[in-house]
């Protein structure tokens, strides 16, 4: 037979404040967590309002690789005319990327976009930016013409995009 424990009046009056204290400890923790959760919801909402799709950012940054003579675009030496969408094979190198075209900071560059490039008709020849670590998020493709000496051939430029490596 189980005997139920009953507190006498003195015991009960001593238990009341303790009960309240324990309640308010848990309530305090819960209220703090609720406020933190509320702030996180608001911050997350503002981040959603200001976010830009990574593919769009990558597309805009990668425009320079096929359109700018500082990167791979062919530029006629006599007339100075730039041919967007035409890749000069002489410029298609990691040195051109590092020295002129796109060079993230060597120490912190892994926090930003990095790229690797491959021409479909020249598999195996991959050139990459200085903080590219084969941690691709997605791949962009561009139809290009490739100028090799005086020969122009149709090709596809694959751009492997690495957004961030923590």
């Amino acid at each position: 037979m189980v005997k139920s424990l009953k507190l006498n009046k003195k015991g009960e009056s001593g238990f009341e404040p303790a009960k309240k204290s324990i309640f308010w400890i848990f309530a305090g923790i819960l209220i703090t967590l609720l406020i933190l959760a509320f702030v996180m919801v608001v911050v997350s909402y503002t981040n959603d309002l200001t976010s830009v799709p990574p593919k769009l950012k990558a597309e805009l940054i990668s425009l320079r690789f096929t359109n700018s003579p500082e990167c791979f675009a062919y530029q006629d030496k006599e007339t100075g005319r730039v041919y967007p969408g035409v890749i000069d094979l002489d410029k298609f190198s990691s040195d051109q990327l590092d020295q002129v075209c796109y060079s993230p900071d060597k120490k912190t560059g892994h926090y930003t976009y990095n790229f690797a490039f491959e021409l479909e008709n020249q598999p195996g020849k991959i050139i990459k930016t200085n903080n590219y670590f084969y941690h691709d998020e997605f791949t962009l493709s561009r139809e290009v013409l490739v100028k090799d000496k005086s020969l122009f051939t149709k090709d596809v430029l694959k751009i492997y995009v690495q957004i961030k490596v923590p």
Partner: protein, 137 residues
């Protein structure tokens, strides 16, 4: 103190806590709704994308931002673009970084400019107030 008085004080204390928590969360929500931090971030992102696009294209161009930015100070240099109000603390400034090709330079600062233009001339990007003749660009 008798039991009734103690429980009355506890009830008042609990009501006070509820009022304080409600006031606090309403304050946070109102602060976010009132602030223009989202607008500043969007302008900074737009300008960053403009810099990336213009530095990629051959030739010269001028583009105008399609919004009145007279309330803000915009600053552009070789590494970043910043959008802020005059008295903004560091935390409230919106800043976006970019990487320019090596031979490019970017500069410019606008204040109280209703119409802001980004101009590309050869390898130079310049943020300035739009001229009167540059309408409907």
């Amino acid at each position: 103190m008798n039991k009734k008085a103690a429980s009355l004080i506890m009830i008042l204390f609990e009501i006070l806590v509820v009022i304080l928590v409600t006031f606090g969360t309403m304050n946070v929500a109102y602060g976010y709704a009132k602030s223009d931090s989202i607008l500043k971030v969007n302008v900074a992102e737009d300008l960053r994308m403009w810099v990336d696009t213009l530095s990629a294209l051959p030739g010269d161009s001028v583009v105008e931002y399609p919004k009145n930015l007279s309330a803000y100070i915009l600053s552009l240099d070789n590494k970043k673009v910043m959008v802020m109000r005059k008295d903004d603390p560091e935390l409230k400034k919106a800043e976006r970084q970019f990487i320019l090709p090596v031979m490019f330079t970017a500069e410019g600062i606008t204040e109280d400019a209703a119409r802001v233009c980004l101009e590309k001339t050869k390898n130079r990007l310049f943020l300035r107030e739009c001229r009167n003749e540059e309408s409907n660009i």
